[in-house]
């Protein structure tokens, strides 16, 4: 069952991006809303899938992205910055989750793979333009 937005619940997800390139929120001001999907360890990153994504509000979707980004940040990192901006991630999730087969696709796996090549991409949410 989805957990509704809980005011005052701060995600423990290492804050957020720095503000370079507008790619995230200020880590000193963590979101106060839970991401979409099943909660485990005060996080939805592990199980959130496309079905959850489609059922969430924009705020909860961004909270999900922030949660995932934080969970995928190495402990040694001083920031949860990512080459994949939250806006890019949002577009990718929207694109992939539009497909009917995508119900169970794990968002963190989608995020991880897109992030892996983000520094080689140009346009937001799009792969490097190929003919």
């Amino acid at each position: 069952m989805l957990v509704l937005a809980a005011a005052g619940v701060a995600l423990p997800a290492c804050g957020a991006n720095d503000d370079r390139g507008g790619s995230g929120r200020d880590r000193d001001h963590p979101v106060d809303i839970r991401g979409v999907g099943l909660v485990r360890g005060n996080s939805t990153a592990q199980f959130a899938n496309c079905r959850d994504w489609r059922g969430g509000s924009a705020k909860r979707r961004y909270a999900t992205i922030e949660d995932i980004r934080g969970q995928l940040t190495p402990q040694t990192s001083e920031t949860a910055a990512s080459d994949l901006s939250d806006e890019q991630a949002y577009k990718i999730f929207q694109h992939v989750c539009a497909a009917r087969f995508s119900d169970e696709l794990r968002l963190y796996k989608l995020y991880a793979r897109a992030q892996a090549f983000a520094s080689l991409t140009t346009d937001a949410g799009e792969a490097y333009p190929v003919p």
Binding site: L105, Q115, S119, L120
Partner: protein, 298 residues
């Protein structure tokens, strides 16, 4: 991701991808990079299941390429040998690198033991996809007297029925050949559908000599280096954005079931994609991609 994982004496069939061990989706995972996997004496066949459909009988959790026997993104020092790999309609096995800079969160959690995998790693930022060896596999051909198990067509999986031993893969060995620092990857002693090494196919579209297919898989382990294949990198970037319905000639094609190898549709697709990737390899976009990549390297 894991180190020294051995998979032996199994039948691996009827999946979208038979075996996948990937480094680049394991953020800061201890043990980076994955290495020393061994896949031997298995039968890996007919992994052509399509779950990217309107109502999939089994819901996919992660995106993997349909029609593939083995996928090794970012693996080092693997040994894949003495397997029968056939009737996988895209690739028998795929090998490609993931630079440390592109791994999640900027690379590994903790130290990378120097010299374990790629020469110069981790200082040079390329710790994955070196020293892998694929040898003495029989590809594109089933053993004499082989019979598919009854469950082969479960969930509408497709396969090449009949008693003929020749059951080709779409391509036997796909190699990313992304970076010149990917050393020591080699393929030797493998035999193809007609029982000879000459009938083994690989490493996939484009590469070092994009205008002159067919390409050649390096067999000399001591002198094997990657070829800065920009088209393949662009392809993998697109695949990294997950399943979609894009169907351009250089778009990621992992999400649709390939045509049966040898069919007119399959041959037409292979030729069209080869031409497109060769053109891309010579394009300003490819050059820009190489420059962007070069900036990431230490």
């Amino acid at each position: 991701m894991g180190n020294a994982v051995r998979i032996t004496r199994n039948h691996v069939y009827g999946n979208m991808t038979g075996i996948s061990s990937d480094t680049f989706s394991a953020a800061g995972h201890p043990g980076f990079p994955a290495d020393s996997s061994e896949i031997d004496h298995n039968f890996i066949y007919a992994n052509n299941l399509d779950l990217y459909t309107e109502r999939p009988p089994v819901a996919p959790l992660v995106g993997v390429p349909i029609g593939t026997g083995i996928v090794y993104p970012g693996m080092s020092d693997a040994r894949v040998h003495h397997n029968w790999i056939f009737d996988n309609w895209r690739n028998g096995a795929m090998l490609f690198a993931v630079p440390d800079a592109l791994a999640n969160g900027g690379g590994a959690e903790g130290d990378i033991f120097p010299g374990v995998s790629c020469p110069g790693a981790p200082a040079n930022g390329l710790s994955t996809s070196c020293g892998n060896r694929f040898f003495r596999n029989r590809v594109g051909r089933a053993p004499k007297g082989f019979r598919f198990p009854d469950a082969i067509d479960m969930f509408r999986n497709t396969y090449t029925a009949g008693a003929r031993q020749k059951k080709p893969n779409g391509n036997d060995f796909w190699w990313g050949e992304l970076f010149s620092t990917n050393t020591g990857n080699c393929w030797f002693g493998n035999t193809g559908p007609d029982g000879t090494a000459a009938s083994v196919t690989g490493p996939g579209d484009a590469g070092r000599l994009p205008g002159a297919p067919p390409q050649v898989l390096p067999s000399d382990c001591g002198n094997s280096v990657g070829n800065d294949a920009a088209a393949k990198l662009a392809y993998l970037i697109d695949c990294g954005n997950g399943p979609d319905n894009d169907a351009g000639l250089t778009d990621c094609d992992w999400w649709t079931r390939p045509a049966r190898p040898g069919s007119p549709a399959a041959m037409s697709t292979v030729l069209s994609r080869a031409r497109a990737t060769q053109e891309f390899e010579r394009s300003p976009e490819a050059e820009a991609l190489r420059k962007r990549l070069a900036r990431l390297m230490p």
